[in-house]
């Protein structure tokens, strides 16, 4: 179990189910970033964030956000 800020670039990872529900969690879910979804980090951005591929959409996330999103390895 690791977090999105440490996921390697260009590799598909799966988001782990959220353990709490707050405003940020809900906002991320609305954008498609929720448990079980596969995403891919595309590149670093100025200010320490990343651009993430979520179902074809490009979402820019700040470092604080990336550190909160837990991921799990893909595969069966």
């Amino acid at each position: 179990m690791t977090t999105l800020d440490r996921a390697p670039f260009g590799v598909t990872v799966r988001i782990a189910p959220a353990d709490r529900s707050d405003a940020l969690e809900r906002r991320l879910a609305e954008l498609g970033l929720r448990g079980g979804v596969e995403v891919r980090c595309l590149q670093r951005t100025a200010g320490g964030g990343r651009v993430v591929d979520v179902a074809g959409a490009r979402i820019a996330l700040g470092r604080e956000v990336l550190q909160r999103v837990r991921t799990e390895p893909t595969g069966p």
């Binding site: 529900s21 979402i59 956000v65």
Partner: protein, 625 residues
């Protein structure tokens, strides 16, 4: 009929395509959130259309979303008869959460599917028929940017209006259940429902490739290069709003003060009222006021056009990413950088540019900070004073004023945030980066025109009335003499200035000549120098570089009022000039963007800051100088 949907799916574009030239934009009472209103012919009847602010769901997290929720779920008959949810084929899953929520009620829903071309480029095809079946409401694919498919949408809306309420989808929660645990379960259930619909309707037709949007983003959002590119874009915006707009402004100004004024004089004379107060009222009051308003038109038009292009192209979202960290320090999102930069050219378009900010609080805070950015009109006064009093160090003094301006923005921003908005946490950066697209000329121009109309409608009154009021005060004799024929120093205007002057004694410039210049500066900073010229009955210096006789008079005035510390008093005066109300046009723009109460609050904050700083500068300065 209401248009709803997630941000950036083409709602407003669809709105414009549907309603054409019949649209109007009004400020919703109580907030500055804009709701577009228009009408469209549906069969034999005309149906009112409301364009709602973007919202992903009916769970309000911002005033915009609250407004959308209140309108859509109203039970008092003001709710729309049919809701058109605009959904992007490229981001189908997140566009449909709102549909999931609306389908829990019996409100008729029609889904308008946009951006199929973007989805296709990404190798996805959305089957509208399958989606209709899965959602239980009609789905119409269309392209509002090219205005195709809107007739089909109108037909579907007509049909929905005839059929009346829908049967709510199964799984809807009982009303009034506010248990947070249930909330979480319910959200999961909705996401599940949406996912089923998406799976049923979306066909992958090819591999996902890196798009050219991604390639641009490798540069536009990258560390180091991204911020540099952003600075270049800001520089270009600043250049356009200053160097390109300035000649147009000057030309309009020359036209109004020249031919139009003499034409008006001639007309007044022709009806037999020449050389009466009527002539003064028309020429120095009305024509001057309208003329001032006119000079802002090219500037505002350019600003609005640039904003439209930046927004439509998709670059604004990238700019927000790049500047996020820097602006976060004063509690503003990255996008607030743009209005603040523009403010150094002119505060009026800068205040209007605050509307790119997503929440009302951010808009209010930024609009309150904009007046502290030193606009180019203030520069002319700095240069004249610096050349007169600090001929050796004029450049340094002017530069210091700009530094002071930046420091003021940061400090006042921090102060406001730690007092008024302590709860306003710096929201973490979560931004959708829409694919880049070429801005369409028609769209950009129509957005520009819409915003320009709004500015003229709300700002024109306050500007013209203020110019007329100052003229009136200058024409009214305080003691003897007849209306319109008094020298300025005997007018009501001068006597008011004399009354106010003692309040500025502690700052070293409590003299009516200086104070009245500040009063005129409230109308427009450009007028400060001409006001001095009028006061001292001298010709206005041909350029700020050669102060000449006016400089001698100013030196005498400031030396007298400050007890021999003229130079320090001038510095205090310049600081006051920097911090107090920029001009009446800025106030008009503020009133439009953040409402009358916040505008008045802003004026008070600026006066307090200006007075305090000026007093501190003078009292500390005269000890050393």
């Amino acid at each position: 009929m209401a248009l709803a949907g997630a941000p950036n799916v083409g709602k407003s574009t669809l709105f414009n395509a549907l309603t054409g030239a019949r649209r109007t934009v009004g400020n919703w009472p109580g907030t500055t959130v804009e709701v577009g209103r228009g009408a469209v012919a549906v069969g034999p009847q005309t149906v009112a259309v409301v364009d709602l602010p973007g919202a992903y769901s009916l769970d309000p997290m911002s005033p915009d979303e609250q407004l959308t929720r209140d309108l859509l779920l109203a039970t008092d008959g003001s709710a729309p008869d049919v809701v058109v949810v605009v959904a992007s084929a490229a981001h189908l899953a997140r566009s449909l959460y709102l549909v999931a929520q609306l389908r829990e009620t019996s409100r008729p829903v029609v889904v308008a599917l946009t951006m199929e071309d973007v989805a296709a480029r990404r190798g996805q095809r959305v089957d509208a028929a399958a989606l209709t079946a899965a959602l239980g409401c009609p789905v119409v694919a269309l392209d509002p940017r090219r205005r195709s498919g809107t007739e089909r949408l109108v037909t579907a809306v007509e049909h929905a209006l005839h059929c009346g309420p829908l049967v709510p989808r199964p799984g809807a929660r009982p009303a009034g259940d506010e248990d947070p645990e249930a909330d979480l379960r319910l959200a999961d259930e909705r996401f599940g429902w949406v996912e089923q619909a998406v799976t049923a309707a979306v066909h992958e037709t090819g591999a996902r490739a890196r798009t050219w949007s991604d390639r641009i983003d490798r540069v536009a959002t990258a560390p180091v290069v991204g911020p540099l590119l952003f600075l270049a874009v800001m520089w270009a915006v600043f250049q356009v709003t200053t160097t390109v707009a300035a000649p147009l402004q000057d030309a309009l100004d020359a036209l109004v003060t020249g031919p139009v004024s003499s034409g008006a004089s001639w007309l007044v004379g022709a009806v037999g009222l020449g050389a009466t107060p009527v002539e003064g009222f028309v020429v120095d009051g009305l024509v001057a006021g309208v003329g001032m308003l006119l000079t802002f038109v090219p500037l505002m038009a350019l600003m609005f056009l640039l904003l439209a292009v930046l927004e439509d192209s998709g670059y604004m979202a990238r700019a927000a990413v790049v500047t996020d960290r820097l602006m976060r320090r004063i509690g503003l999102p990255g996008r607030a950088f743009l209005p603040l930069v523009v403010g150094f050219g002119c505060n009026v378009p800068a205040v209007a540019a605050t509307r790119i900010l997503p929440t009302v609080r951010q808009r209010v805070l930024t609009a309150l900070l904009v007046p502290f950015t030193s606009c180019s009109a203030r520069l002319t006064v700095y240069v004249l004073l610096a050349r007169t009093f600090f001929p050796e160090h004029a450049g340094t003094v002017v530069f210091a004023m700009y530094l002071a301006s930046i420091v003021l923005v940061v400090l006042v921003g921090l102060a406001l945030r730690s007092t008024l908005w302590r709860s306003m946490g710096a929201e973490p950066l979560v931004i959708d980066l829409p694919p880049y697209q070429r801005p369409t000329v028609r769209l950009s121009l129509s957005v520009m025109w819409l915003r320009l109309q709004g500015f003229l409608r709300t700002a024109s009154g306050i500007i013209v009335v203020t110019v007329v009021a100052v003229w009136l005060l200058q024409s009214l004799p305080a003691g003897g003499g007849s209306f319109g024929e008094v020298p300025v120093e005997d007018s009501v205007y001068a006597s008011i200035s004399r009354t106010v002057a003692p309040a500025l004694d502690p700052a070293g410039f409590g003299q009516w000549e200086s104070v009245s210049a500040l009063v005129v500066g409230f109308v427009a900073k450009e007028a400060v120098i001409s006001s001095w010229a009028q006061t001292y009955a001298l010709a206005e210096p041909s350029s700020a570089r050669s102060p000449g006789a006016l400089g001698d008079q100013l030196t005498a005035t400031f030396d007298a009022s400050s007890g021999g510390h003229g130079a320090v008093a001038v510095l205090a005066f310049m600081v006051f000039l920097l911090a107090y109300t920029p001009c009446v046009a800025t106030l008009a723009a503020q009133r439009r963007e953040i409402g009358t109460r916040w505008t008045v609050f802003g004026v008070l904050v600026q006066l307090v800051v200006a007075w305090t700083l000026a007093v501190v500068v003078f009292q500390v300065g005269r000890v050393f100088w």
